[in-house]
């Protein structure tokens, strides 16, 4: 699935370090195609991260986040079996999501 968020999490002393990758063109809206036509802006605007359905981090992004965005953060009070879930919404309303079980 193209809209999957790939997530890796590692627990050290109760702290989960979460790394995630999203698949998205992150078009700024200022680039032109080969014929000189503007390529419309298409980028992720909002990201939310959850630990077992509790929101731990949200992000607002502009078009200047790199293509196929990378996001890493650290979660407190993490235990093996906790589920990390990340969702995104882009400026066209498209969504993506992914989850990973912490080990």
């Amino acid at each position: 699935m193209a809209n999957d968020v790939k997530i890796r999490g590692k627990i050290t002393d109760g702290v989960a370090t979460v790394k995630s990758l999203m698949v998205h063109p992150m078009e700024t809206g200022t680039r032109r195609d080969a014929d000189g036509n503007l390529i419309p802006a298409h980028y992720i605007e909002k990201v939310a991260a959850y630990k077992n359905d509790q929101e731990v981090l949200t992000a607002d992004w502009g078009a200047s986040i790199s293509k196929n965005p990378f996001l890493s953060f650290r979660v407190k009070n993490a235990a093996p079996g906790d589920v990390i879930r990340i969702t995104w919404v882009d400026n066209t309303g498209a969504t993506g999501a992914g989850e990973a079980v912490l080990k």
């Binding site: 981090l57 992000a59 502009g62 200047s64 790199s66 293509k67 990378f70 890493s72």
Partner: protein, 148 residues
């Protein structure tokens, strides 16, 4: 009784407006991302909160970015009560790149990758309850990331 109820409704409406108004003045994230200059973006993001330089922010970004399309950035701090971390690239068409809301369940430690069209000063902002702390770094870009 009817009069009392009307009074009550009016007072509640006024109180509601009074609560909403400062919030609106304080933060308009969508507008902040559309702002074409860094100062406007900051005003819309943080309102009138005082902004202070700080050495307590760890700001990792390369001095020289060979590829402006992918510039890795990490902002972290041990400060307590951090609510938001934001990244601003002065020379980008829309300087505000990312704004992270940190819950008490997460550390003030985020990493991502940003695009940079040109060499620019890049700022990290860390917002606590009543203050904004900042640090900045100059990043040289050899190949821009916003061209075709």
């Amino acid at each position: 009784m009817a009069l009392n109820r009307r009074k009550w409704i009016t007072s509640m409406a006024t109180a509601g407006a009074a609560v909403l108004l400062p919030l609106r003045l304080l933060a308009d994230t969508a507008a902040a991302f559309k702002a074409a200059d860094a100062n406007t973006a900051l005003k819309q993001l943080f309102g009138d909160l005082p902004v202070e330089e700080s050495t307590a922010i760890e700001f990792k970004i390369p001095d020289i970015a060979e590829n402006g399309a992918v510039v890795p950035v990490t902002v972290s701090t041990d400060m307590p009560g951090v609510r938001n971390i934001s990244i601003v690239v002065d020379e980008n068409p829309n300087p505000l790149s990312a704004s992270f809301n940190i819950s008490p369940e997460a550390f003030a430690d985020v990493s991502t990758r940003v695009k940079m069209g040109n060499s620019s000063v890049v700022h990290a902002y860390v917002r606590t309850a009543d203050k904004v702390y900042t640090t900045s770094k100059e990043v040289k870009v050899t190949i821009g990331g916003c061209g075709g």
